[in-house]
């Protein structure tokens, strides 16, 4: 066990965990930030996507020891009240079905738009292709990202 100081959603948190613990479980089990989901544990589904200094990362394979001073943002911290353009566009297009993968989808889409305000279809596809959705909401994910880019 070791003590780590983490900046998550603008707040400082101190956790005492095994250094190899993936950030996903630090968030979920130690800080009760359960909006970030476990889907596969091997970075194959994208449900656990968070931001590390603004870059989309798979938190299920990201050891707490590797984070250091980088700032973590989760779905709970992406906006105050669901006002992020991606969140708004998601509601407008009624993207979510079961909802389980959607926090990861939204985090990845938000990172994409922060990096590229006007992504092409191809850019959307290549960025979002690692986030799977078994309900098959992809058509709407694409449309919502386009809408969000204009908000």
């Amino acid at each position: 066990m070791a003590i780590f100081n983490l900046t998550i959603n603008g707040k400082n948190h101190e956790v005492d965990v095994d250094p190899s613990t993936p950030i996903l479980w630090v968030l979920r089990d130690h800080l009760n930030l359960v909006g970030t989901k476990y889907g596969c544990g091997v970075a194959q589904c994208g449900a656990c996507t968070i931001h590390l200094d603004g870059t989309a990362m798979r938190s299920c394979v990201l050891p707490v020891s590797s984070v250091k001073a980088q700032k973590i943002t989760t779905i709970e911290g992406i906006s105050e009240n669901g006002e992020h353009p991606v969140q708004k566009a998601w509601i407008q297009h009624d993207v979510a079905q079961c909802g389980y993968c959607q926090a990861g989808q939204i985090m990845n889409a938000a990172a994409l738009l922060a990096d590229n305000a006007n992504p092409s279809d191809q850019e959307i596809e290549s960025t979002m292709s690692g986030n799977i959705c078994r309900c098959g909401t992809y058509t709407r994910i694409k449309a919502a990202i386009k809408t969000a880019s204009k908000l």
Binding site: G35, A47, D94, M128, T137
Partner: protein, 765 residues
Amino acid sequence: MVKNLNKTKKDKSLNIDSPLHVTGRTKYVDDIPELSGTLFAKVFYSSIAHGKITRLDISKAAAMEGVVKVVTCEDIPGENQVGGIIADEPLLADGLVDFIGQPIVMILATEEIIARKALKLIEVKFKPLKVIVDPREAHKKGSLLSDPRHFQMGDIKKAFKKAKYIFEGEADSGGQEHVYLEPQGAYAIPKNNDCIQVISSTQGPTAVQRTIARALGVSMNEIEVDVNRIGGGFGGKEDQASMWATFCALGTYLTKKPVKYILDRHEDLQMTGKRHPYRSDYKIGLDKDLKIVAFEGNYFQNGGAAADLSPAVLERTLFHATNSYYVPNVDVNAYPCRTNLHPHTAFRGFGGPQGMFVIECAIHHAARALGVPANKIQEKNLLINNNEFSYGQKVQDCEAKNTWNQAKKKFDFAKLKKEVAAYNKANKYSKKGIAFMPICFGISFTNTMMNNARALVHVYSDGSVGISTGAVEMGQGVSSKMIQVAALCFGLKTDEVRLETTNTTRVANTSPTAASATADLNGKALQDACDQILVRLRKLVKKEWGLKSKDQIHFQDGWVICNRKKMKWNELILTAFQQRVNLSAKGHYSTPKIHFDKKIGKGHPFAYHVFGTSIFTCTVDCIRGTYDFDKVQLIHDFGTSMNKLVDLGQIEGGLVQGMGWMTIENLLYDEEGRLKSNSLANYKIPDIHYVPKKLDVEYLDTKGSDLAILKSKAVGEPPLMYGIGAYFALYNAVLAYNKDANIPYESPMTTEKILMGLYSKKANS
């Protein structure tokens, strides 16, 4: 993109869950804060597909620090049984294992990581027995899970004698892993008087309750099952959620502590069943005008090691054996084959897709042999009103031809055909293929008994409304629909109605959320409950306002109105409360008119049918075998949709899931019964790249059915079967390159199979 989104009065609300989903506030089982003292369960499972357990030593695991209890089958107080339809599946293996992934021991520990480590300390030895993984082999050896099923109509022998053309062959469809993104799991909590509350990720709360009660040897009223919502089910949590919930409840029963078990993805893939792989034989007879005069099918269902829902899935294969076509002479036989794989289970379509695939293969075979496009045969044989299915029901409000003709017209098939022909002529190593896929899907549980539901409505004294039903929200939007129903009945806004969790103490004896019928059944029960309250309110208004009749009293926009008089809903409710009017009601609904005699395979099992026609266009790279779907265009019969955004979402998602099943999802086992596609790294489901470049879903405005909630037809399962068109579009593109290609009818049509097909030689026949 989607067109023709005519707004209707019923169509104001979106998915009510959206704001929670986009902010990460939706609560799934694993998101519930753990109570102190919670124990974590893990299951030690069989590493061989068939064998006797000759030695089992749990002592080292039991001695590990943090391990609270190691549970074997001997610790089960009630029946060691989780079988639903047939009691043939132990919770924990008792001397014999029948599949890889079969639970043998449960470990309860103070931390999940401890339970995980303790698994490695379990010592077990097996004496291996013969393994069967192929359903045809199982059938040959008489290894069946239940009785074979048989539907027949007309005189098949005579029909084949008279048929001008007869084609026979084999058609196999692969299995499909559910990949609900939220894995299976449950959380059991001890309550007063030794009762246990179980929060479960299940489509079938009552099945969970019943299974637990039987395993613990307690009454159902001692077990409360609660479901907030689930992160995808697709059938995989209809029956197979019960096992994990039972493990938790058993742990709680034995330790008096809360017990949680959330499967990791690997455990889930390894231990839970999938869509049934099928192997089938077909024989189709046509007359000179290409009318199908006879169809014979034998279906060998790979059921796995226990019955689970296989007998019911098997039956639906027969119900949909002739898809959207009228065939006067039918003889179809289905065999639930017992193999040494995890018990296969429900998956969106429930055996229907496996049945439809076979007749589509038969038609494709006939078309190829006769040198006509398959769509010519398909079109000639579409159902019309009063045509009889092999199970005795006559089709009513048939939209098969209507959707077909509209699809041809709206998507300008004549032009598409020309374009594709020109493209194929101009391109040597890139070929396009087209396929039509019509669907006809029966709505109701085919076990008539299950077609009933209940709902509980409370109007609180401040006018707000709380509703409970037996429906489980799993992404299909049933929550939104239930709220819409209550809001519509009371003339309120949807945000004035709150939907409670699905809970067995509020709504008992529920049928699982399945068979696409959940919104119909629960919505109608909810209407009944609302109507009971409205009758009481009308009586009160009549008295209070001195009216002669109740007929003119309306509830709308938050008011109760009669002629020129009106009163706010909340004021009326407060008055009613003060006048001691009962403001709660329990509604009940059972689908009228349906019946089915399983012994003779005849009856009227479905409330109604859902129809649609899709057209697939794809382009195959003839050097690599890779492909793109240029477009999928379809006309779907929604009835009069009560929530078009939600319903269209079901079409978009169901279609992609069906296409995945038919093309890229390659569920593989080796001869020893080992699942080879055992992670999301080697079992691929559609991603954002995969979806068709263009997707047109057009709405066929039909009058709907009175047996559908607000005439809005069921939409959960039917669109999955459009996906079958993907298989044939790819097949046809390969034929455009190599007209003699020899491609057995075996789904999925992987890129490997396409490549092999492109360069295959003519079959010897």
